[in-house]
Amino acid sequence: MAGKIIKIAGPLVIAELPAVKMYDVVRVGDRRLIGEIIEIKTDSIAIQVYEETAGLKPGEPVETTGEPLSVMLAPGLITTIFDGIQRPLERIRAKYGAFIAKGADIPALDLEKKWKFVPEAKIGDTLKAGDTLGFVQETPAVKHLIMLPPLSAGGKLKSLKSGEFNITETIAVLSGPDGREEKIAMLQKWPIRKKRPYVQKLPPNKPLITGQRIIDTFFPVAKGGTACIPGPFGSGKTVVQHQLAKWADADLIVYIGCGERGNEMTDVLQEFPHLKDPQTGEALIKRTVLIANTSNMPVAAREASVYTGITIAEYFRDMGYDVAMMADSTSRWAEALREMSGRLEEMPGEEGYPAYLGSRLAEFYERSGRVLSLGTAGREGTLSVIGAVSPPGGDLSEPVTQNTLRVAKVFWALDSALAYARHFPAINWLKSYSLYLDNLKEYYLSNVDEEWPRMRVQAASLLQQESELQEMVKLVGADALSGRERLVLEAARSLREDYLHQVAFDETDTYTSFRKQYLLLKSVLAFYQAGEKLLRQNKDIEQVFRLPVRAKIARMKYMPENKLAELENLPAEILQTIDALA
């Protein structure tokens, strides 16, 4: 079916093309640019074009493919970097050079490459959608399960091959319930705007361990949960996202650079192959899929990039993996939505954003979760979504932040005042929250320490008291404070400087295991408790502030994980030293 272009305005093209479906992919113009139908009117359709439209002319042909925008799902995804509509950037570079040429047309995955398929199902088995046929060891870190696609009718397995195949070759044949044969290849396709089906959602019950102290201790995100990081520029959103992508204990990471800096993606590409996963010891890139639609790449593809990313993430979730997805930044996606909405001359909602912004954001975050996937094996997978938000002027009252806060369960509030003082991660401990603490309590009690929830509350209360006392200091000066109040200020300062402050660029400090977090927090709190004891005996508290053992607390975070044994006795040592003063 072919039609003609009527009008071109930026990424929006209006064309005459009868009998099409919403969100079908069309090829636009002589250069066959990729576009998607976003509006159908009586005599014309509106298309958002995913590529640069310069040079396009009215009258050029438009052709529908009759299919919605879909991603290719098969071995070959991992370690690859794609653009917003899943074009492989490395192979585009090999073919077109350092700059992205217009109309570059390369399939997302290598169709020729042979993968070693290991069958696991047995001939004669009755299989249904989601059941595994076998696997491909895609990277040392990821065993890529080959599953029956979610829409497969299922049936009796008639044949199953073993050996090396490319992703489009038939590896299995099923005889379906109505006697029809279904040929299965490794490749599946799935439309990006539709969530992949599962049997049931389950409440999250394990933390996503990130090695970042303020996150793991104070504001944890659960596996299958959602978190958002709003913050003005320069407050460290991207560094936090990178840290999570590096150290989170997920099986698989999908990282989406949505409308952000080109160099940040380059950084990931160059750094990840050299970093080792603390759990498996493999290079981090071996568990990572990257989507890069940098700010200067076409705006419509930016809108698609988050859906491309989350669909790939869901695919791996269905294999029973813990998948974590980072989107940096969802504001750019919302802005792309706004730009297209403006060009469609839709009635704007708040700040020019379309009225459907809130529902689109909610739909997107709801694709996260801990689920029971399709298939008889009852695999349990999780998909955690962590979205950065870039509020204009750092003003959190703007629509994207507000709509995100309504759906995301963890809020890491980045604070420019902390960033100016180079306190990183600049997550404000008074404004941030996590709604997963109750879900995770069980886990902490059995895996960290029985004391842990209480220690956390005590530390949080010290920080809260500090902020109140600081107000007072501003009014009446530090001299007017009592000994107890000065002890609170000192303990809170130690918490901030020795515990919450964490250097992402320091080899040791960049990742802190839960055991080390426990010892570190216990030491800081021991200092406070011992001080309290002195106060009860009416001793001068100032002498405690200058004890040399405090320097030990300050240096603790630079102690490598393999020397943790040296720290085990520190909390006790602190108590003893201070007791000696009593």
């Binding site: 009527i6 002319k57 409308g259 080109g262 160099n263 950084d267 020019g352 204009p392 002027g393 000066g477």
Partner: protein, 455 residues
């Protein structure tokens, strides 16, 4: 030979509507001949089967419906060759220095193409600007885009000129270095200041200048930075130069963009700026960088004045979200006579940590910088407290930090306009200042560093 259309139907602000055009391409270059014979240029902003909307670079004053339009079948292009060095162009790319047109090696589309992120090389070559607040705290690296956020009345031009004069990469003297300067709606005097400086230092022979002054057509400004960056891309990625691009003033550029958007009756975003301002600015800033298989680099130093000194205004705000940090000038430092009035606390270089340290600058660089930041922030806080309560209300430590912050401003931030400090001098200065503080408060420094440099 292209058809000439005499079917101008509407003229509004910088826009012209031409009817009945066959096959005009989006973003195509258009030549409009006024009734008097004068030739002006524009580009296609929107095409419809029945009409074409053209945005004029040189404005529409004096045009009438009798004007004729020719569609050139290509986008706006810049003829490039190595002879461009030492030349001065107008904001729309015509020779402005009275010299002959260059013999072009080729013509390049001024919109450029997006760099494939896989082809980028991560910028990590330290550039020594000789300015302590930049080198020590907010280090510039080759291929970075680092804007100067200034306010009206502050010496941003002097600072940019000093950087252009002093910038050098350690141990790399033979690489070709050139400057591309894009003046976007600045005054004659300010442009003359830059040119004088380039002439005085001889930099002018390796500079390409694109000048759109405050009284030149405002709409032309939309093309000017693209011309400058196209010239820079050619010099960097085809001729292997290390190019420093200075664009001043981005605020005027954004206002021109707003003018066109308003004329098109688009739904405005914040403060009347179009919703696509972020995307538009990113297509400028993201052209900076380095490539893996090419020797050159583009380092971009845009200057913008923050309206009402407001960092949350959309122009600095969106710029900050795209660029790799920002150098923020501060009015109160300037009023205390401190040059350069760089406020280190809100300033930031995102690429600093990859460009410094052992083998690049010195192993203690990152820690010294972090300690200076932390101590200065605490000192400023202490001073604010002293304003309310009087200095006697401060604790001993706070007094020391307050003193530190004064000395820091006076000795570290303040320096001469021709003072070119090496990175060693900058770091040593930092260590000297640390002597003012109690040692147990130097938490960001490593014990072995304190041992080596403080004693």
């Amino acid at each position: 030979m292209q058809k000439e259309y005499k079917s101008v139907a509407e003229i509004a602000g910088p826009l012209i509507l031409v009817e009945g055009v066959e096959k005009a391409g989006y973003e195509e270059l258009v030549e409009i001949r006024a009734a008097g014979g004068e030739l002006r240029r524009g580009k296609v902003l929107e095409v419809h089967r029945d009409w074409t909307l053209v945005q004029m670079f040189e404005g529409t004053s004096g045009l009438d419906k009798a004007a004729s339009a020719r569609f050139l079948g290509r986008g706006v292009e810049l003829p490039v060759s190595p002879d461009m060095l030492g030349r001065m162009y107008s904001g729309s790319g015509q020779a402005r220095d009275g010299g002959p047109e260059i013999i072009a090696e080729k013509n390049l589309d001024i919109n450029g193409l997006a760099i494939n992120p896989t082809a980028r090389a991560y910028p990590n070559d330290f550039i020594q600007t000789g300015i302590s607040t930049i080198d020590g705290l907010n280090t510039l690296v080759r291929g970075q885009k680092l804007p100067i956020f200034s306010c009206s009345g502050l010496p941003h031009a002097r600072l940019a000129a000093q950087i252009a004069r002093q910038a050098q990469v350690a141990g790399d003297q033979q690489a070709e270095f050139s400057v591309v300067f894009g003046a976007l709606g600045i005054t004659y005097e300010e442009a003359e200041f830059f040119m004088n400086d380039f002439r005085r230092t001889g930099a002018v022979t390796r500079a390409v200048l694109f000048i759109n002054l405050a009284d030149d057509p405002a709409i032309e400004r939309i093309a000017t930075p693209r011309l400058a960056l196209t010239a820079a891309e050619y010099l960097a990625f085809e001729k292997g130069h290390h190019v420093l691009v200075i664009l001043a003033d981005i605020t005027s550029y954004c206002e021109s963009l707003r003018e066109v958007s308003a004329a098109r009756k688009e739904i405005p975003g914040r403060r009347g700026f179009p919703g696509y301002l972020y995307t538009d600015l990113s297509t400028l800033y993201e052209r900076a960088g380095r490539l893996q298989d090419k020797p050159g680099s583009i380092t971009l130093l845009p200057i913008l004045t923050m309206p009402e000194d407001d960092k949350t205004h959309p122009i600095p705000d969106l710029t900050g979200y795209i660029t790799e940090g920002q150098i923020i000038l501060d009015r109160s430092l300037h009023q205390r006579g401190i040059y350069p009035p760089v406020n280190p606390l809100p300033s930031l270089s995102r690429l600093r940590d990859k460009g410094i340290g052992e083998g690049r600058t010195r192993e203690d660089h990152a820690n010294v910088a972090n300690q200076l930041f932390a101590a200065y922030a605490r000192g400023r806080e202490a001073k604010e407290l002293a304003v309310i309560l009087g200095e006697s209300a401060l604790g001993d430590d706070d007094k020391k930090f307050a003193r530190f912050s004064e000395e820091f401003e006076d000795r570290f931030i303040r320096q001469g306009e021709n003072e070119n400090r090496t990175i060693e001098e900058t770091l040593s200065l930092g260590w000297e200042l640390f002597k003012l503080l109690p040692e147990e408060q130097l938490k960001r420094l490593k014990p072995e560093q304190i041992e080596k440099y403080l004693r």
